[in-house]
């Protein structure tokens, strides 16, 4: 009996953690279910709405060659129903679905395993598939989960996949959190990937939308060239060839591996009673069995040992991009690099939907855009990421003045060398710190933004890393700035990409 009480205490223990930054606090209530799933809560009394997000520690970096794009395909498939949702007769539907899979398996063998597949056979098999798909429609309730959310006042309904995480979002009236708990736990346990093959067509259209953004193909290659060993090498959308060939079994295996409660965080921000949310989470998410422990990804990025350069031509603006490998988030150097990006690059982007906009207070804007007038835009950014980071300079030249990307490259190197030697001014460093702190305070005022920031942080370094990062930012001095500039901004650690507009 005593043991049981202890177990309950452990299971229902709600930690109210207060962590102060400036004069305000980030107050996240935490609860861990017996199956390892974490429940985070940030109550904000007032308007009766609750932002409900579920995050999984899985993204495109958990893929491998041949199944790139799977994390994102999987995110789409999570809307295709479960054993109880989206179907009128699961058994009858499953029978047809299995037949479709069997036939599609044969088609894939003809199409993708052979160089001279039998086209007539493929056409005949496809005809059978089309008929079965038509018959299956009788059992499918289209977009059932989506409709349930919508008619109950769900907004900001969406999901997204990044390199590192996948999130499922809805904002509901505060009396309807149970609907989210029911449907999200149901699709973790009981997902059925109906209409898998037509959904792959949808995703290929999604990829084509990216491809039709001028410069996309070059950007994809630049990224692939920058990361050689690490799985940040491919885009989240995946290579088109993999999208064609990936199988339903690849996706069900993916689901079984990563969509386990011990790899998930649910977060609630809004007007609710934490005790009630804990009780519901125990009831719904608590019923899912724990999965095996998950090993982090293995591939880091080896040293480059040589400068990389890429040249491309096409329908996008002439531009320069310079990328440098930097350490991941949480590294002692990360905050100094963040201050460098902020000071060099702030507000250096374009306007009218261009690249960022902003106040134009960064060094690159002042020197290259405003004073020397050699660039239309010039900016810098620092992306630490979870496992490997990147620091990037971007600039577009003033073609009307005959400036070339290579000219801007020299200008940016001159700025870099100056920083290596002199660092930044005290005022610039203080400004970056003030901005970091103000940004933190503003983030507390949002609901979905806060849910996203806290939920994702929890998956890797814990939500308190938001606060420890802010503390680390405040401790950066000019020696740190000079040191990191000298350490990372070297040619052997860089990729320079030059793109020239060709045609109209």
């Amino acid at each position: 009996m005593k043991k049981r009480i202890l177990f309950l205490i452990a299971a229902v223990f709600v930690v109210a953690a207060f962590a102060a930054a400036a004069d305000v606090t980030l107050d996240v209530k935490e609860h861990v279910l017996a199956n390892g799933m974490k429940i985070l809560m940030i109550p904000k009394p007032g308007v009766p709405r609750v932002v409900c997000h579920v995050y999984f520690k899985v993204g495109s970096i958990n893929e491998r060659p041949g199944i790139t794009g799977s994390a994102h395909i999987h995110e789409h498939l999570m809307f295709k129903g479960t054993k109880v949702m989206g179907v009128t007769d699961d058994a009858a539907d499953a029978k047809i679905d299995a037949q479709i899979d069997e036939l599609m398996g044969q088609i894939y063998r003809e199409k993708f395993w052979k160089t001279d597949g039998d086209q007539a056979k493929i056409a005949a098999l496809q005809k059978q598939v089309d008929e079965l798909a038509k018959a299956e429609k009788a059992f499918i309730i289209k977009d059932d989960l989506w409709t349930q959310y919508m008619k109950n006042g769900g907004t900001a309904l969406n999901a997204s996949t990044s390199q590192e995480t996948t999130g499922y979002y809805v904002t509901l009236p505060s009396n309807k959190i149970e609907l989210q708990m029911l449907m999200e736990s149901d699709r973790m346990m009981n997902a059925v990937f109906r209409e898998f093959y037509s959904e792959k067509d949808v995703i290929m259209e999604e990829r084509r939308l990216s491809e039709n953004r001028p410069g996309y193909f070059f950007g994809e290659q630049v990224n692939a060239a920058f990361y050689t060993a690490s799985p940040y090498h491919w885009d989240v959308i995946g290579w088109m060839d993999d999208l064609r060939k990936v199988t339903k079994k690849d996706l069900t295996d993916f689901h079984k591996t990563y969509y386990v409660p011990n790899n998930a965080v649910a977060i609630y921000v809004g007007d609710f009673d934490p005790a009630a949310v804990v009780a519901l989470a125990e009831k719904y998410f608590g019923r899912i069995p724990k999965g095996p422990d998950l090993e982090p990804i293995r591939d880091g990025e080896p040293p480059q040992y040589g400068e990389k350069r890429m040249y491309g031509e096409g329908p996008a603006p002439t531009s320069l991009q310079m990328m440098f490998h930097i350490p991941p988030a949480g590294d002692p150097d990360a905050q100094a690099l963040s201050i460098l990006a902020s000071t060099l690059g702030s507000g250096g982007g374009g306007f009218r939907g261009g690249m960022g906009g902003g106040g134009g207070t960064g060094r690159l804007y002042k020197n290259l855009v405003r004073d020397k007038q050699v660039a239309v835009s010039a900016s810098a950014s620092s992306r630490p990421q979870w496992y490997v980071g990147a620091f990037q300079f971007s600039a577009t030249p003033r073609l009307d003045k005959g400036v070339k990307p290579e000219d801007l490259e020299k200008e940016i190197w001159a700025e870099i060398e100056k920083v290596k030697k002199e660092g930044l001014t005290e005022e610039e460093i203080q400004k970056a710190k003030n901005r970091g702190e103000a940004m933190f305070i503003r983030s507390l005022g949002s609901t979905s933004g806060l849910a996203s920031q806290v939920g994702r942080a929890e998956l890797m370094r814990g939500w308190r890393s938001i606060l420890t990062d802010l503390d680390a930012l405040k401790k950066v001095g000019n020696d740190d700035i000079k040191r990191v500039a000298a350490k990372y901004f070297v040619k052997d650690n860089s990729l320079t990409a030059i793109y020239t507009r060709k045609g109209r």
Binding site: P173, E178, S198, D201, R213, A279, L280
Partner: protein, 486 residues
Amino acid sequence: MKRTIIAILGLLVIGAGLAPAQAQRPSDLTYPPLKYEPPSPRDFRIVYAGGLRAYVQPDKSLPLFNITAIVNCGDLYVPKDKTGLGTVLGDQLIKGGTTAKEGPAIEDRIDFLGGSLNFNVQDRTAMLTLSVLSKDLDEGLATFFDVLRNPAFREEPLKLAKARMIEQLRQVNDQPSTILSRAYDRLLYGDNAITWQPTKASYEGVTAADLKAYHAKYFTPRNVILAVSGDFDKAALKAKIEKLTAGWKGGAPAFPAIPKTFPNPEPGVYFVEKAINQGYISLGHLGIEDTNPDYYAVQVMNFILGGGSFTSRITTKVRSDEGLSYNQGSRFTYRWGLPGTFSGYVQTKSSTVGYAISLILNEFNRIRTAPVSDAEIETAVNFYLESFADSFQSSQTTMMSFANLEMTGKPMDYYKTYRAKIQAVTKARVQDVATKYIQPDKAVIVIVGDWEPCNKGGEKWAGPLDKLGRVHKVALTDPMTGQEIK
């Protein structure tokens, strides 16, 4: 320790009390009632000395201060030969500095404080927005009104801005989606301030004197409404604002007439050539104003047709059933004082362009000719009713909504009566407004894509595209000159 245990046990009891039986599907769930009344604009409205109106909500939850000035001015009040003045003003109100301070000094200081100060110009409204920590309220507020009242439009920053904007014209024909929306608006609105595009010459023609005159005309206390929220005392803020706006003069300006007659383009296909692997498509005609009494029924109808994302007919048919596209649907857009547009839209690979259009046209016809189902209208109406409180999640957004209502002359009980008006929409009303406001025989079908494969079609819908109506080839314009590219 004992106290902790009691607290935890208490929590358990509460939890057990609230925990319902294990539901398997949403229909098993019942929800406690939830009553929500929206805030009333009247409770926040203030008129400061000089006639400056404001919606103000103190909110002490965070040490922040937010203020936006909504000015009734914009691109539609600019003569044709000065097209682009709004964009230049958007950049130069801050960057051009004030009579007391240069632009960079203002930007550097706000940035140092971790604040933000932005200005942007739309069709008929422009917004200056400041956000600072509340400890910096006095300094931020002084800068805000200095920028709003005393911009200097210095020559050097203006010259740079114009040169950058002209350089950026090179990108105007890059994105298929922008080409499409420009071509669609041009067909529906004709040669009008709504559709005029800046060129090298029109940017070059914008002078500091133009900006000063435009500013002097429209930036008057009676032509501005403020939206304010954050950590402050209402009376103290009033004193500060009145001090900073003392001597600010000027009444309501005379606004240029905005034409209200538009061409009736010939229905059919309008094709813009671009070497891409999909067709970007919009099809439809002019829509309605949001002051139209049918607005609520139109919202519900469009939700069912193609505005309700995955619960809408176009998405179900084109995306979910056929796998033709990632992005598709229908929309009514709205403009203050002018009709908006109605359109079906989709982007799909070249070979299925004709097929996707035919499916959307089928849905246009279906919603006109047959009543929607009970389930469809229930989902649509419930969505609007149940999500209503979303509009009031942030104090600043709420103040902005109220300020916008007043600025655009909408009834101030808009939010109060909103749910009743949505609730009153019936299946018959849905069909009425579908018949009235969706007219497939008047639709223009605008496509940006690669002509040969789009025209050829595919298995399920073989071309040519003129099966959908007479095909007009539309030339791109040279962004520098505004002339058609031959």
